[in-house]
């Protein structure tokens, strides 16, 4: 039985990695993947607390988050493909037409 603080520490590291990826990576695909990391960090938290409190609700929520994440990444990748077709790049800092 793994102790709860250990799991929370792990998920925090995972989330921070995701944040770093979103803020620092230029490649849009990697940004999307970092978002997945953050979502899964949340999932870990949900499952951990579910186990801790002996309450199945958390796990159910985790399943929902996985489903939503699948949908989100589908749309996200579609947008990335369209951006590539139009701009021939997928660097997010070059996609900045919508400014002042």
């Amino acid at each position: 039985m793994i102790r709860l603080p250990l799991v929370l520490f792990f998920s925090a590291v995972l989330f921070s990695t995701g944040v770093y990826g979103v803020l620092a990576r230029r490649n849009a695909v990697l940004v999307l993947m970092s978002i997945e990391l953050m979502l899964n960090a949340v999932n870990v938290n949900l499952v951990a607390f579910s186990q801790f409190w002996h309450d199945i609700t958390g796990q159910v929520f985790a399943l929902f988050v996985i489903a939503v994440a699948a949908a989100e990444v589908g749309i996200g990748l579609a947008i990335v493909i369209l951006i590539y077709r139009n701009r021939e790049t997928i660097n997010v800092d070059e996609v900045n037409l919508l400014k002042w």
Binding site: V22, A24, V92, D93, N96, L97, K99, W100
Partner: protein
């Protein structure tokens, strides 16, 4: 509602047509509007509307009279016009026998004049306008006749004055005509103002109950009504009569009013409008009866002076229309004088008004035919026309004989009634009437002889007027011959039964009065014939020394008015008023304007500097801040995400601290 509204007896025809009397007054108004809007596009330039309305009005008037011939009672109906405190003023009609007679007179003469004018005014530039005003005038006169209250009567009264002014000045291109119009308007206005105040005083004296003529007439006899106030009211009302019916000293406008077209003179200045003053006294007679006796005495004195003075003035006129004008003044004065001798005189005066309307309209229209033929108003340019214009001559002769009082024409019977009324205890009035009758017969004979007999002295070849002009002459001549019998002892004076409800004094044929009357008329005619049989040159009436010069100068009244009133008013009062207006009133107005302008300029400055600066400053501040803040919108998704995370962290810290 109206006091005597209920009918007194059921009749075969019923009061139906009497109730419709107001339609007679509305018809000319409709025809006036039609003529005004469609006249110029109508074949004949619009006379058809007026003639049609007058014909319908005349027929309806006869039907109205029929109700009273059968012994029907007075009919009244009205609607509320306005209310001031306790005073309830109505607009409506009061139709009795007198109204019916007046309706007949007005519509008959108006119809004759409308028809006659087709010929007389044929080449006039303002032909259509002439018919419009003629119709409006008729409507106003009919309104005066059927009005059941004094305010409504005053409205018609004033509209008549306006139409009179417009028609006298119909040919305003000539200065003398527009001056005559102004003179007539202002002179009658001098009488109208007292008349208006007389109405107010009368309403006040009877306690502000009503302006209804019948009710006021009953109220003035009340115990708590001040006799002094009623006397004042009667005098003021009589002021209106002096102005409108051209009595001394305001008679001066009527001879000058002859500058208008002759049909106008016949309708307005002989038969109808000038008779309205006499009608007013008769309608308001109970006011005069309940006033101090001196009031009726005053009426008699004014009437007597006018009657005799105007007859003398008619002697020395060369203008045929002016002879008739002074004759009209004199005949109206006959009626006014008769009013002063009591109810019998009032009845006789109305009868004379009735007959006079016919023969005086006839004389004017006849004179119009003559003027039309010889292109001059002056009798010195006429003469010998009886062969060339037989219809005009014979009808004119009938009218003149009626005016002179030759039996059995209308004028004789009505003048006889006047004399009979005066013969009962009014010796001075009676004598004056007889003398005036003699003078009347003399100047009438002079007029006829100078115009129609002897050699022709004018230019060109005068011809008989067209049938459209002689037709009305013949119709009026028939009236002149016949209407007199209505009031004669022969028919037991049916006229007086129609006109009044109280049992009239039985009409008696007083032989000595009639004899004197015929004697006076005959003497006048004979004298006129004797003097003018050889057509003496120069005219003997101008060779009476100082008397002639006094008469030719019209008793110097025009000079007195001109030097005593017109010139001081025009040169001093008007000048002072102009000065006051220019300097004081205009100064006040201009000062206010300047002040307002300066204030506006100040406000404008304040608006531009202070208010606008504030508004612009706020806008600029917002724009500047927005310009700085917009650089946050970098378009870089990752920077937005960074803000988001920082925000979440800050929120998390804040929430956990709380």
């Amino acid at each position: 509602m109206v006091g005597a509204a209920e009918t007194l007896s059921a009749t075969a025809i019923g009061p139906g047509f009497a109730r419709l009397a107001w339609v007679v007054a509305v018809l000319p108004l409709v025809s006036a509007a039609l003529t005004l809007f469609f006249g110029k596009r109508t074949p004949g330039r619009g006379w058809i509307y007026g003639v049609a309305a007058m014909s319908a009005g005349f027929v309806l008037s006869v039907l109205v009279l029929w109700h009273f011939v059968q012994g029907g009672g007075a009919v009244g109906s009205s609607v509320t016009w306005f209310t001031i405190g306790p005073l309830h003023v109505e607009a409506g009609q009061y139709v009795d026998g007198l109204t019916a007679i007046m309706l007949i007179v007005v519509t008959a003469v108006s119809l004759a004049v409308h028809v006659y004018s087709i010929g007389y005014m044929h080449d006039d530039v303002r032909f259509t306008w002439f018919y419009v005003v003629l119709s409006v005038f008729t409507a106003a006169m009919l309104n005066v006749v059927i009005a059941d209250n004094l305010i409504q009567l005053l409205v018609g009264w004033e509209v008549m004055g306006l139409c009179s002014y417009l028609l006298i000045g119909h040919w305003w291109e000539e200065r003398i005509n527009s001056n005559a119009a102004i003179k007539a308007f202002i002179t009658t206005r001098i009488g109208d103002v007292p008349f208006m105040f007389g109405i107010f005083v009368l309403i006040a004296a009877t306690g502000f109950h009503s302006a209804n003529i019948q009710q006021v007439g009953e109220l003035v006899g009340g115990p708590d009504v001040s006799r002094g106030l009623v006397s004042v009211a009667a005098l003021l009302l009589f002021g209106g009569t002096i102005g409108k019916s051209a009595q001394f000293p305001l008679h001066v406008w009527l001879p000058d009013a002859m500058q208008g077209p002759t049909p106008v003179s016949a309708l307005i200045h002989a038969a109808t409008m000038v008779a309205a003053g006499v009608y007013l006294v008769g309608r308001m007679y109970s006011v005069f009866l309940h006033a101090a006796p001196e009031v009726l005495g005053f009426v008699g004195i004014i009437g007597g002076i006018t009657m005799f003075g105007a007859a003398l003035l008619a002697l020395v006129q060369d203008d045929i229309k002016r002879v008739l004008a002074y004759s009209t003044v004199s005949q109206l004065a006959y009626m006014v004088t008769a009013m002063s001798v009591g109810p019998a005189g009032r009845d006789a005066a109305f009868f004379h008004l009735f007959t006079h309307a016919f023969f005086k309209a006839l004389l004017f229209l006849g004179a119009g035919c003559v003027i039309h033929a010889v292109h001059s108003n002056n009798m010195s340019d006429m003469g010998g026309l009886w062969r060339r214009m037989p219809v005009t001559f014979w009808t004119f002769a009938f009218g003149s004989a009626a005016l002179a009082g030759i039996p059995p024409l209308a004028g004789f019977w009505s003048k006889d009634e006047l004399l009979v009324a005066a013969s009962k205890g009014h010796a001075v009035v009676f004598t004056l009437m007889l003398v005036t009758a003699l003078v009347t017969a003399f100047y009438t004979t002079r007029m006829v002889m100078l115009t129609f007999l002897g050699p022709y002295r004018g230019h060109g070849e005068p011809e008989e007027a067209p049938a459209v002009m002689t037709g009305p002459l013949v119709a009026l001549a028939l009236g002149t011959v016949s209407v007199g019998f209505l009031g004669a002892a022969l028919t037991r004076g049916v006229f007086f039964k129609w006109v009044f409800f109280e049992v009239p004094e039985p009409v008696t044929f007083v032989l000595w009065v009639a004899t004197l009357s015929i004697l006076a008329a005959g003497l006048g005619v004979l004298a006129g014939w004797y003097v003018y049989r050889e057509r003496p040159e120069p005219d003997p009436v101008f060779q009476l020394g100082w008397l002639s010069s006094v008469l030719v100068n019209k008793f110097y009244l025009d000079e007195v008015y001109m030097n005593g009133i017109v010139l001081p008013v025009r040169d001093r009062l008007a000048a002072a008023a102009v000065w006051f207006d220019r300097n004081v009133l205009d100064g006040m107005v201009n000062g206010t304007a300047r002040l307002t302008k300066d204030l506006a300029l100040g406000t404008d400055e304040f608006d531009r500097t202070v208010v606008d600066s504030a508004v612009n400053g706020v806008a600029q501040a917002a724009g500047f801040t927005g310009g700085l803040l917009r650089y946050l919108q970098s378009g870089n998704v990752q920077r937005y995400a960074a803000f988001l995370f920082v925000g979440v962290v800050v929120l998390a810290i804040v929430i956990t601290r709380i």
